[in-house]
């Protein structure tokens, strides 16, 4: 068993998307994706902050080899992050295949992932190994099933740092125990518009969950996209943590649906106007900033969900959220771009995608 023989070119990935962007699965009008990651470390090695260059190299080799031997999926490929340029790493971050910390890290580190981009395994991130599974829609349980199996295969090959008292031992004590972070990405434009979103935050925080922006810790919210994840990793089982999130998500999605209904019944014309203006802007603008596009796409996405706009597929919209990000535009264009150039190319790219989508739908 080996990794895919041909070296992966990041530009090849730019033609496809991960399966989690399909826009399918339960509640996928509001729940974009469900993600679980597990933090694991190899026993008898220091955590990365205390590992020297030689130990880091050894860890990278050992973990990479064990991932390969574990026969996780037949199409796993591996990229050494130290060998690719910053734009390529940014691309992988935007794709949710690696974290920002992993991209910006130092020394020997890498990532393995399958063709569908559902499973990714980060080597030498904050912990020696971070396993991640992302699925489209509200499918935490399925994601857990997959990641649990991957973890079982790996624990046969790797001697994890573990104690019966503290569970899986991690570099940061905020992850110790299950080492699990389960999160769900939600699109909540109507709750934002009607200023009810704070109520959601409050309710969610009382359950020991946290709300974050699109790219995780410390990031701003844009495009009305929110990530809800567990804060505690110790003292609750994986199943219990997932159940807590599972119990709260349907309440948030129905709250969002109620807010949308209220907007339609009270401000139908205004809502339609807002959606169509955003759609119009996407189709005619010659320059669009990365923040503006998130805002416009969010409005249009809601418009499609409410049946106001019928000629774009959800998959296309979900993809546009990712493909118009700086790393993706630079990969599509094949060169580094200034922010001004990106704004021009972003607008042109969106116009082209929307024209194609419309002609396909007839």
């Amino acid at each position: 068993m080996s990794f895919q023989a041909t070296p992966v070119k990041i530009s090849d990935l730019a033609d496809n998307t991960g399966e989690w962007l399909r826009g399918t699965g339960p509640e996928s009008d509001i729940v974009i994706s469900s993600r679980i990651r597990l933090a694991r470390n190899v026993a008898r090695f220091p955590f990365l902050s205390r590992a020297n260059v030689k130990q880091k190299k050894e860890l990278e080799e050992v973990v990479r080899d064990k991932i390969r031997e574990a026969e996780i999926t037949s199409d796993l490929r591996y990229i050494n992050l130290a060998e690719i340029n910053p734009v390529d790493r940014l691309f992988l971050v935007e794709r949710h295949l690696i974290s920002r910390e992993h991209a910006g890290g130092e020394g020997e580190r890498g990532v393995a992932f399958g063709r569908s981009e559902t499973i990714s395994l980060m080597v030498n991130e904050e912990d020696h190994l971070r396993i991640q599974v992302i699925r489209s829609g509200f499918e935490l349980r399925e994601a857990w099933k997959t990641i649990d199996e991957v973890d079982n295969k790996l624990e046969k090959k790797l001697n994890y740092a573990y104690s019966s008292r503290f569970g899986y031992l991690t570099a940061c004590p905020t992850n110790v125990g299950t080492g699990m972070r389960a999160s769900v990405m939600l699109h909540l434009p109507a709750l934002g518009m009607t200023h009810h979103i704070e109520k959601v935050f409050n309710a969610v925080m009382k359950l020991g969950l946290v709300v974050r922006g699109l790219y995780g810790e410390g990031t701003q919210v844009s495009g009305d996209l929110y990530q809800i994840s567990n804060q505690f990793t110790l003292g609750k089982s994986e199943k219990e943590i997932i159940e807590i999130i599972e119990s709260v998500i349907p309440r948030i999605t129905s709250y969002e649906r109620m807010a949308r209904k209220a907007l339609i019944s009270e401000n139908k014309e205004q809502l339609e106007d807002r959606v169509w203006r955003s759609y119009g802007m996407l189709k005619v603008a010659r320059m669009i900033s990365s923040e503006e596009i998130m805002h416009l796409l969010s409005q249009v996405r809601m418009g499609v969900n409410l049946g106001i706009i019928n000629d774009i597929e959800m998959k296309t919209l979900n993809e546009l959220f990712i493909f118009t990000l700086p790393g993706h535009l630079q990969k599509l264009e094949g060169r580094e771009l200034t922010s001004l150039q990106r704004n021009i190319i972003r607008a042109a790219y969106v116009r082209k995608r929307l024209e194609k989508a419309e002609s396909l739908k007839g």
Partner: protein
């Protein structure tokens, strides 16, 4: 720009009040959402300030300073495996090796209690860690569920859980 039909103005940048606001930022600080509407230029210049939301590491180190006791006997402790001192851990929030959980145990326990509301793992157990741990954890989880069932006055479920606990513990006199 005219007033939009939505009722809010097609927005001017709230910083320079001249250009059209094309950048709409949302920050979450605790449970409060704050919106900002800016033009591209002002957004660029303000971006550096925005990212100053305390990072998880900053939050963590402040928590450590509040909670992890500055025990004088601990301040001299250095991990013999990785060389990390308890004081270094207190200032950076990152541990140096798996052994630190044992070496700094005294300082970590109150911190974990504050952080997670618990200091005992009840989740997955690697298969090599043996059946004994699995059994213990299952027991602990069943007890948790039993407590919950009792709280909810679901006595049928409670009885069922009690039987499973007896079965697993092999000791019918055990009560919890």
């Amino acid at each position: 720009m005219p007033e939009s039909a939505w009722g809010d103005k097609i927005m001017k940048c709230e910083s320079c009040n001249k250009k059209h606001a094309t950048v709409h930022l949302t920050e979450i600080v605790g449970a409060v959402k704050k919106e900002r509407h800016l033009c591209e230029e002002c957004a660029q210049s303000i971006n550096t300030q925005l990212t100053k939301i305390p990072s998880p590491t900053e939050i963590l180190t402040s928590l450590i300073n509040q909670v992890a006791p500055e025990i004088s006997e601990m301040s001299k402790i250095v991990c013999p495996v990785c060389g990390l001192s308890y004081l270094e851990f207190r200032s950076h929030g990152r541990l140096g090796c798996p052994m630190d959980y044992t070496i700094f145990r005294k300082g970590l326990i109150p911190l974990l209690e504050k952080m997670h509301g618990s200091t005992q793992h009840v989740g997955k157990v690697p298969s090599r860690a043996g059946r004994e741990i699995i059994r213990k954890n299952e027991l602990m989880q069943l007890r948790n569920e039993l407590n919950k069932a009792v709280e909810k006055e679901d006595y049928e479920k409670a009885a069922e859980l009690r039987d499973r606990i007896y079965e697993l513990s092999g000791d019918t006199s055990e009560d919890q």
